[in-house]
Amino acid sequence: MHHGNHYYGHAQVLAGYCGLDPDDPPRIEGYLQHGWNVLDGLGGGTPYAPGSPIFVWSERTRRRAWSMGRPLATVTGAPFLYLLRSESDRADEGEREGTIWYPFHGWEGQQVSGDHLRLIDEITATEAGPVTFCLYWNEYRDDRIRAAYEHAGRVVCHGYRGYMRRQTDARFLHKQLAELRRHRRVASNRLSTAILYGAVAGCAPAVYGDPMHLAGEDTPTAERIRREWPELHGTGPDPDRARAVALAELGDGHLASPAELRAILGWPS
């Protein structure tokens, strides 16, 4: 099925959860939602083989997918939550300090345009503690952008999400979880998957600063996100309310047991 199932090592995480070899996840009979979005779970432009099941993170997304003509959606919850569940014993290891900041990123098909220096100024003026900037591989590989952030703090990258099942960093989510657990706050200039992950991994989330723009982006969607999820926006939203919203968006309470997940994904028991 679609190579997007392997982005960020999602298929690998689920295979491990199901008691199968995480280095060699079986083919998934359908499409895994690979990032938080306000569409049908697949995100715009994903080539979809008609009649294939899609595995979405939340019930809200499933309902939306239905309304968009994608009836074959099953709520499985985000792979990150499965990882969080299996790594829950390490939740309280070590001290948390500062903020991990995820500047809005582009990808192979769309580049972000905006003033990174001005954004950095706003971040350093807002954040009290040390800031770790987590750049997506797209920006991390851009020496000019990376240097700008390196002047202001520590810069990390969780890895390459992979493309056509090649160069996938299967430990992407593990690295991300480890980084999130080192920080008190998680922030970005857009509400995005990383903010939701951070909120459920124990960070106080914040969304502020110049939202920047993706090439060819649908601006009403970005505005809708700000309007629909106010609990996560601002420099210091209420962490408890934000966490509850993030948990719902990632499908907390909907995670399947390993046996159920194997049967859903068409994997051997």
């Binding site: 009979e29 359908g30 080539p47 979809y48 083989a49 008609p50 009649g51 294939s52 099941p53 899609i54 019930e59 499933r62 309902r63 009836p71 074959l72 959606a73 099953t74 709520v75 309470g253 909907h254 399947a256 047991s257 390993p258 046996a259 159920e260 997940l261 194997r262 049967a263 859903i264 068409g266 028991s269």
Partner: protein, 499 residues
Amino acid sequence: MITLIGGEMPEYAEQRPPAGGPLYRRLIDRLPTGIRVLIAGPHSGALVRAVADRREVTLLLRSRPDAERVDVRDVRVLCGTLSKLADTDRYDAVIALDGTGRLHSPEGPPLDWVESVRVLKRALRPGGTLLLAVENELGVHRLVDPGTPTAARAGDAWSPLGEFGSAPGRPDRLAAALGAEGLPVAALAAVWPLPEHPALLATPETLRYGPLDALAALASAAAAPAYRERSVLSDPRRLAAAAVRRGLGAELAPAWLAVAQLATRPGQAVPLPPALIAGPGGAVTELVKSPDGTWSRRAVQGPGELTGPLPSGRLLEERLLTAALGHDLPGLRRLLTGWMTELPNVPAGNVLVDGDRYARLDPSAPDRADALARFAHTLATGGYHHPWPGVTDVARLTDVLAGAAGLTTAPTPAPTAGDELPDIRRRHEEQLDAVRRRLADAEDRVRFYEVELGKREAELGRAKVQIAAFSGSLGYRAAKAGLGIARAARNRIRNRGRK
């Protein structure tokens, strides 16, 4: 001994089954002995024999072949049409549990319902009892019937009025109509699931103020065997349960049974409990309400294990379907887990769930090791949305449900195909739609894969050229380079030509 009273049907034998069953038998047993009884219309041999036990019985049948087949001793048989019934004979009780529809022949005047009741009334002695069943033309049995009663082709459908007939259409109107004829109603019960063979008799009060969830479960359980493999429009089990649970159990019952008396006298000749239930193997229980308001069951026939408190809560199968339709995955998993922990071998249609309590509805029903697989079958083929729409195979859906129930291995023998399920027309439509959708998807998918394959083949072709260029022989590489130079030269010439 047969007396031909006139208007008999010499060749015609009744085509539908007569009224009968253990619940009617139970009512008959409550009649006093030593009385004169008229049984009007087709009733089962067992029922006639039960009445004839220590009572003087006259049987009225329109069909001569049926009259000749009566093999109950000491029963006088009158063969003919109702209007020919002599008004000189009087009886202590008149039993018309088949209704009035099959009392008339083509030879007699077409009496309507009230006129028929008047004839039956004339046969009663003062203080006499009338046991009369009235079919509900808008009952659930009609709503699920794929046939059209007003276009029936049966041999006795010479005037098929159906819902245009004059019989009362509600239990309270039935009581009022009989009262207006001087036959005050002493007791009334709704008949489920079929008019001629009740498995649940419940009074309208019970169906309004009683334990509706349990009664709904009982109505559904009663409908299951009655409709096994019968062709229906929609599932009578669900419709019966929904009607009862929503407080419409009396109004949508397939028939009503009225116990009326010609002038009242102290006491009831045939008392009706709040509800009478027939179980498998002829067992009969009745519902009893205790002074503190709780409900219990009492076995009046059959195994004593049926006696005890009535379990509270709703039918598990309905709770599961509700959760599935609402895409309430956590709720569905909780129910499945509780069920598989408490009563893994009891079919979901025989389990009542109240909070965390799971109880058998009918303790005498046998266990089934394939209970979970049977529910998977219902979910996959019964026309229900569920949270796993991509899983269309029953065996795989059973595995999913087992996983959702917290079972690590699925103890899932395959369900017996079609077992206990009515043949539901709406489901045929749905299945046809589903097949059409899947076929259209499959065709689209083939086109999608063709495009994908085209892209991959193009990529492969480019890769092959590169591989050949880098790993091929020196001659090949020279030729390839020459070809490149030639192509460049051609392009230059072309470009120059355009300028």
